[in-house]
């Protein structure tokens, strides 16, 4: 798998990652609904931390699964 070199959120000028943006969050999950490492997706540390919170919030609200399959 080719590694992305640029952070998706930085290039799109995202100030805060929203937990309701389920379609965006899903891009950073694997088929088991686990988070993919920032190293692999190219997300910078600042946004990876935000992303982690957003995914966890979305899980709590039942918008994303805790586990899939």
């Amino acid at each position: 798998m080719k590694k992305n070199t640029q952070c998706y959120f930085t290039t799109n000028n995202v100030k805060q990652i929203d937990y309701k943006d389920v379609d965006i969050l899903k891009k950073f999950l694997n088929p088991h609904a686990r988070m993919i490492a920032g190293e692999r997706t190219g997300v910078c540390s600042k946004h990876q931390r935000q992303l982690a919170s957003a995914v966890k919030r979305a899980r709590f609200m039942g918008l994303l699964p805790f586990v899939a399959k």
Binding site: N12, V14, K15, Q16, I17, D18, Y19, K20, D21, V22, D23, I24, R57, R59, F60, M61, G62, L63, L64, P65, F66
Partner: protein
Amino acid sequence: MNHNEHTEPRIYELGYHLVPTLAEEQIPKASGAVRGMIERISKDIIAEELPVFIDLAYQIVKTVEHKNKRFDQAYFGWIKFDGSPEGIAELEEGLKKDENVLRYLIVKTIRENTFIAKKFTGVKVKEPEEVAVVAAEEATATPVDEVLDKAIEELVA
């Protein structure tokens, strides 16, 4: 320097699920109750999306009168508002007592729109989709050639 003074605005967002047992007509009343709680503690409601019917990613259990009720679907809505920490505590108490609220989440956020995607995309329509059919018919009714010709003419001009 006064440490108790806060210059930064405190913007919060409340996301909530209403129980799916409510009928579509009862939703405005139930979401109005939630909005009423916020209006009591907040000066300014910044943005809002009314509850929409969605499939939940997993079963959510709510205990009602010592009985566990399981829900696979819910009405999900959110409100962004300006508030104070004391108000939030009050709001939480109100939400816990509200039987129509299946689950809620209050987060600190920013005033600007945080959506990248334009709208909440998990929306599911409770009734059969009539709108989609109409849209499809319209699409087939307009001949593609005509549109293409117009586009070409515009380009040439």
